[in-house]
Amino acid sequence: MKAAIRHLMRNRRRSILTLCAVLIPIYFLILMFGFTNSVIQDMFESATRFDTGHMQIRAVEPPGSGSALPLINDPSDALDILAEMEAIEWFTVRLDLPALASVDDRTRTVFLRGVVPEEIDPVSNMADRMVEGDFLSSERDGVIVGEELADLLELGVGDDMVLLSAHPDASLGAIRAPIVGIFNAHEAAIGRMIVYSNLGTARRLARSETAATAIVLRLNGVRGSQDTHVMEATADALRAQLPDSYVVQGWLELLPILSGYLDVLVPMLVIMAVVFFGLGALVVVNTLYLSVMERTREIGLILSLGSSRIRVMGMILAEAGLITAAGAFYGVVLGIGIILIIEAFGGIPLWGQMAAYMREMGITPVLHMSITAWQVLLSAGAMSIVAMMAAWFPAWKASRLEPMEAMRHVE
């Protein structure tokens, strides 16, 4: 080992280059993990805070049904089960109906979302987004609309809106409801399409006193997407207890676009890691091979003196191991250090198209970073393995030298 260290110190520039070849991919991968962890966590929090919850209970969808969610005629049996489960932190009933919204002769296709305002208020920030009028109340009839829809239908607070149900199971339901508030949706599509009402108003449109389309749940002990096992365990427990007419769906299943995004994210990370690791490995092979070539006579001498070939290989691999360990260490330190520094300053605020895009995805446009121990180990471990595998070829070449030929080698 002493000789290995001294060999590395003999040609410092080359040793540093080899070290960087290991350090940079590790550092890069840690940063990428840091970024994607943050993105996924943001997506998770945005989606699950109210929109999807951690999971939902819905009616089983009959084959050939359209885009409308099937109605649960009376969810009280499911609600009774949920009330007894300690794993459930919070749940609420929701009724989503496709509808036509009409003001005078102006009509738009919308989705009416019936909620229990007092239940969603603690977790949803909808009440904070009101720009005019009031938020919903279970005590009072009325709907709130997005700014975009208000503009399209030329309506304001106090105007009446006629809603005609377009749900196949709630045909010909029609109600008139006052606009009690207008909200800012952050996303124009939401502002054009979603009308919120209390559950009672939505049920009037559905012409049912008990109808629902989903029960939205949040679970105890779930902090992020890494707690998938907790969610799955609860989902399994629910499935075992609920009648067959219900289906339990997790947050990712409810957001196929996000799921698709995450499905792309991991392979992208893998591809980038492979590219960086590959380049790093090439540098390791190259520099170690050069080192072996420069020491051909020395290796010839060692073999002449009676060293085994395995020992010669071990000598080269020991050098590679030292430089790899150093590169891994500094790569980890640098990667984690950068993350800590960024977080100490509250993250990196984004701007322009990137910020707009992140808002569309429900992510706050500030670049945060977080990393798990497992991801650090994976980054350092994977690159270390790759580097040692790359070192094997020059080590093997060294061991195959013929002693006398090697000793006669002229550099």
Binding site: G66, D105, T107, A166, R176
Partner: protein, 246 residues
């Protein structure tokens, strides 16, 4: 939009006339013309009972329908009681819904494209008429009558890839099969319980079944053809008068 309305509009579109393909063979065209003449009149009135069976559940409606030419149609809902005196009004390209509780709502053209008729075609297809100018027609003889094949023009704005119609030798429709663009069967309409009304034969029962086993059964009671109807009848005020009277 409701399956009730769409089924009725299927009915109205079928009786509101069929535009013929520009380059169909004369014999096929002639057959299609005769089918239309047998099926349609200048005006119509009838009571239509609808049973919509979805996933084993049956919902029943009763409608009263008036049509005048190809532009005017009025559908009044009689049953269930909760929907009494609600209905639809077609004025050319415009479609209105009326409810005594909320008044009239003009339906946007985008709503016509929604496939909400559980066991039937979309509203848009129905309001334009399934058997429109957009198809080429071919005919073959069968043991009991004729077999027509309708293929849409390449740039036709229709969702079907093909229609197949079996008709009797006296030009009464027996069966109408709808196919999608990939050639997959979408749904089938079977016509039965033929009666004689004046000088025409008319199938009073139509059963439409889709690939998932959902069905709509339509029974037409007391059909009247070529009766005298006032065009002024076809307006929202007609609904309002019913609403006030109920």
């Amino acid at each position: 939009m409701t399956r009730t309305v769409l089924l009725v509009l299927l009915f109205t579109s079928l009786i509101s006339g069929v535009a013929l393909a520009q380059d169909a063979s004369p014999s096929a065209q002639e057959i299609l013309d005769r089918v239309n003449e047998t099926w349609q009149g200048d005006s119509f009135h009838g009571i239509i009972g609808l049973d919509i069976i979805l996933s084993g559940q049956t919902k029943s409606h009763k409608l009263e329908v008036w049509t005048l030419g190809e532009e005017l149609a009025l559908i009044r809902i009689l049953e269930p009681e909760i929907d009494l005196n609600s209905g639809y009004l077609q004025l050319g390209d415009e479609l209105w819904f009326y409810s005594p509780d909320v008044g009239s709502i003009k339906l946007p053209s985008i709503a016509l494209g929604d496939a909400v008729f559980g066991a039937g075609p979309s509203l848009e297809d129905l309001s334009r008429g399934t058997l429109s100018d957009d198809y080429d027609v071919a005919a073959e003889n069968t043991e009991t009558g004729f077999f027509l094949t309708l293929i849409p023009h390449p740039d036709a704005p229709v969702v079907y890839g093909k229609l197949e119609i079996w008709v009797t030798s006296d030009f009464v429709m027996e069966r109408l099969q709808y196919f999608d663009q990939r050639g997959e069967k979408l749904q089938t309409a079977v016509f039965s319980d033929v009666i004689v009304v004046g000088d025409r034969k008319f199938a009073t029962t139509i059963v439409i079944e889709d690939a998932f086993g959902d069905r709509t059964i339509q029974r037409i009671e007391a059909p009247q053809f070529d009766l005298v109807l006032d065009a002024m009848f076809f307006r929202l005020e007609t609904f309002e008068a019913w609403g006030e009277g109920s």
